[in-house]
């Protein structure tokens, strides 16, 4: 069955059952699966807090630093865990794909959805950390639902591309690990985009303008900035960045959908 929009709508019950069964499986393995999902970003938060603030004595302008990095760790974790799982999902479900007629796009989609619900628990944890740190929770929070929507759109698009490539390229999985590691440091996870703008300006007028623009081509730079503006700074994100984020996530989803449709009927022969 072709993975197009109308087939996915017709099989919306499958999307729901698959997402639920992902979550049930996780709950079956451990009662508080989403807590385990959170452990990783929380440990990373503690490590970077200890290294950057405790050892190097930096990060003063980003105090409280744990909140600052957690704003980045959580969406990043949703992205990387969905991406790695997507790269192997079609091969892992080979038997299923070859014996049942259903839009196979449901497989990568539900991976992203089920991890997204873990991420939602993560944002509650973030909110708790914000409150514990005694930071104000204000009107800037109204941005959060829109950021969540942009994030799921973006991650879905990227995962659709990667799920096809993963079926065709046998060593993609290992390669992705390196790629996301580089992506982590290229994204404003440990630092903010204000530093990127500052340092670029030091390089002269040309780089001062173009380097930040180049940097913001990374949609996660914009997304993380949005979460920080909402949870950390308590302000509204620059409207230009909002437009950029909408454009980036729409392109990602469209590209993912198109790529999947292109490979849809070819991929099964490569499994």
């Amino acid at each position: 069955m072709v993975s197009n929009w109308s087939n996915l709508v017709a099989r919306r019950d499958l999307l729901r059952e698959l997402t639920l069964s992902e979550l049930r499986t996780q709950r079956e393995i451990s009662r508080f699966g989403w807590v385990w999902w959170l452990v990783d970003p929380l440990i990373m938060m503690l490590i970077y807090w200890a290294v950057v603030v405790g050892i190097f004595g930096r990060g003063g302008q980003y105090a409280p630093y744990p909140v600052f990095i957690l704003c980045a760790m959580l969406p990043w974790k949703h992205f990387t865990s969905s991406l790695t799982a997507s790269s192997g999902v079609l091969r892992a479900r080979e038997g299923l794909i070859k014996s049942l007629a259903f839009p196979t796009m449901a497989l990568p989609l539900t991976l992203v959805f089920s991890r997204f619900s873990n991420f939602l628990f993560g944002t509650l944890a973030l909110l708790a950390v914000v409150l514990v740190a005694g930071m104000p929770v204000g009107i800037s929070m109204v941005q959060v639902p829109f950021l969540l929507f942009a994030q799921i759109t973006l991650v879905t698009g990227l995962c659709l591309v990667v799920s096809c490539l993963g079926a065709l390229i046998r060593d993609l999985h290992g390669f992705l690990g390196h790629l996301t590691r580089v992506g982590f440091y290229l994204s404003p996870t440990l630092y903010g985009i204000d530093i990127v703008i500052e340092r670029s300006a030091d390089l002269g007028a040309f780089w001062g303008v173009w380097l930040p623009r180049l940097y913001l081509l990374n949609p996660f730079a914009v997304l993380i900035t949005g979460y920080r503006d909402s949870f950390f700074y308590g302000r509204f994100m620059d409207p230009e960045l909002w437009i950029l984020l909408v454009v980036q996530s729409s392109i990602a989803l469209l590209a993912g959908y198109r790529t999947y449709q292109y490979f849809d009927r070819r991929v099964i022969k490569f499994l």
């Binding site: 072709v2 499958l14 499986t25 038997g95 794909i97 259903f102 490569f270």
Partner: protein, 263 residues
């Protein structure tokens, strides 16, 4: 799949529109596709760009099947029988020609492919129903019946991981036989569970077949096909060797000298 409106005859009082129609269908596989592309070969050249050999699993397959028929598909291993089932179920799309199917297709190709081993039998009923295209309400209203038919008892709330293969097959059959198919595709005969269950499942399958508008059954056994089919399609090395009434084709199939396996 072709546009169903294309070549549609004018509806007469007794229109004989084929329920399933294949027109010049060809499906190929890359023989080298097992050696998938790797990042290394993309970077270093390697085997990338090498000419790949094509294996046509089906070629020039054309036939029409009408309402009320039971079509048996026969042929040696590697003749393309399973590929034909995959094409009729829209799992594989043809590389050449067109397949047109008028009605809801249900396939019983391999039982239990959709099981998630970590989930309970009950959860798997919902999941498998969804894979088979049933609506949630539809499958939920039949959960009790499925549990009873499968004879799993309290095991239904245990993870499928702990089931014996017989229990898994029984559950899978119970779910799949709740389908309301218009076109039913069966790959090989389903024989599930112990003798009592086999008897029960055979009866269930007969009911299912009685409700279907068209049935396509793949089998190695011409004897079995002879007992139930109205028509037969004989495939050999991906091509149609004969198509017609079951008796005529199966007689010819049995009379033919055995051929070497192509696959």
């Amino acid at each position: 799949m072709s546009d169903p409106k294309q070549n549609e005859p004018v509806e007469g009082p007794e229109s004989r529109e084929p329920v399933v129609e294949m027109d010049g269908v060809g499906i190929y596989f890359h023989l080298q596709s097992r050696r998938r592309i790797s990042i290394k070969s993309l970077l270093l050249g390697g085997s990338f760009g090498q000419e790949r050999k094509l294996l046509w699993a089906l070629r020039d397959v054309s036939f029409k099947a009408y309402e009320g028929e039971i079509l048996g598909v026969i042929g040696p291993n590697g003749a393309g029988k399973s590929t034909l089932c995959l094409a009729l179920s829209e799992i594989l799309l043809p590389d050449e020609g067109s397949v047109s199917v008028r009605g809801r297709v249900s396939t019983l190709l391999s039982l239990g492919a959709g099981f998630n081993r970590d989930l309970s039998g009950r959860d798997n009923i919902l999941l498998n129903g969804a894979y088979l295209g049933m609506r949630r309400e539809q499958i939920q209203s039949r959960v009790a019946e499925i549990v009873e038919f499968s004879e799993l008892g309290d095991f239904i709330d245990q993870p499928v991981r702990f089931y014996s293969s017989g229990m898994r097959a029984r559950l899978a059959f119970s779910i799949a036989s709740c389908l309301e198919p218009e076109i039913l595709i069966l790959d090989e005969v389903l024989s599930v569970g112990d003798r009592a269950f086999q008897e029960k499942s055979r009866r269930r399958l007969e009911e299912l077949m009685a409700r279907s508008r068209l049935i396509v059954i793949v089998s190695h056994s011409s004897e079995f096909l002879r007992s139930i089919c109205t028509h037969a399609l004989w495939l050999e090395r991906g091509r149609v060797r004969g198509y017609g009434s079951a008796k005529e084709i199966l007689d010819a199939y049995e009379a033919a000298p055995p051929t070497g396996e192509a696959g």
